[in-house]
Symmetry: C2
Subunit: 178 residues, 2 copies
């Protein structure tokens, strides 16, 4: 990198324009979004094998969307602890067993953001949720056949849910349906 | 929305801070990244059912990563045409049949970016690639068992590849392995 200029930053992210040298020797202005924190997300299954899905209004896409529990990792916090905290805060649930499925990049052509994904089972209700000021989150258990249909019809577009299916498939943990 | 201020923009994206009213009546500063263009990506299979994967250096994550062909939709271009163009430009391939698998949101808590995903098969070599100035892309055919192992070990973290597995599963098109 020859030069980096921070064009904007706040508590969430920083936008840099870095001047980088291409393999042909030419200089290129690369716009990079550097998030302040990485993320976690949780695929929580109950004893019947159903998956915990949430509905939340997401302002950037201007609609209520399906998603899984998750959020940003606090400074100094381990990803597993963040995943357990987010499941508890957002849905009031805890789980007996936690398994690390892997990480995904949100958009490696633009950002450095990683999401660490965990499988938590069986999950059980442990108390009331504790939402942040800007959170209003509904949750419910859904079957894998419901999930499959919702992805097929486009009702679910959230990259973490879709990527979770890919990670579960890779680990041999993808349910056959119900 | 009460007020919106554009904090930065260039040819790729715009960063806005929008003042929105929460359900409890409080005002909240929402940071939103609005990309200028949406994206497309292609799962291209050859006659043997292998998948076309690319390796490209991605500056934001500072490493060579595995990905699938794809890019941004030009102004006025249809997503299918963009997918066909990107497959041709990045790898020199065309395909007989194209099927729309669905869309994914990159990060609906921060951005409005959507990626439209297509299944293209069988794909065949049709000429040399035509890279943009900043592109140096290697590609190769990989088996689904190789892909499964590469996701499991974390060698593949790209959200589009992981999400493509989820979309193929939802459509009943996920290969059983080879």
């Amino acid at each position: 990198m020859h030069h980096s200029q921070t064009m904007f930053q706040n508590r969430w992210l920083r936008v840099d324009v870095d001047v980088v040298e291409l393999p042909n020797g030419r200089l290129y202005d690369y716009t990079v979004i550097r998030e302040k924190k990485h993320g976690v997300a949780v695929i929580a299954l109950n004893a019947a094998g159903q998956v915990l899905l949430q509905q939340e209004y997401r302002y950037p896409v201007a609609q209520v969307i399906w998603q899984v529990p998750g959020g940003l990792i606090d400074d100094g916090e381990m990803p597993l602890a963040a995943a357990q905290r987010e499941l508890r805060e957002e849905t009031g649930h805890e789980a007996e067993h936690w398994c690390y499925l892997g990480a995904l990049w949100d958009n490696p052509a633009l950002e450095d953001m990683q999401i660490h994904l965990f499988l938590a089972q069986p999950a059980f209700a442990a108390g009331p949720p504790q939402w942040d000021e800007e959170e209003w989150i509904q949750w419910q258990w859904q079957s894998w056949s419901w999930l499959q249909a919702a992805i097929r019809t486009g009702e679910i577009k959230e990259r973490v849910i879709l990527a979770a299916v890919g990670l579960l498939w890779a680990h041999g943990d993808l349910p056959a349906g119900d």
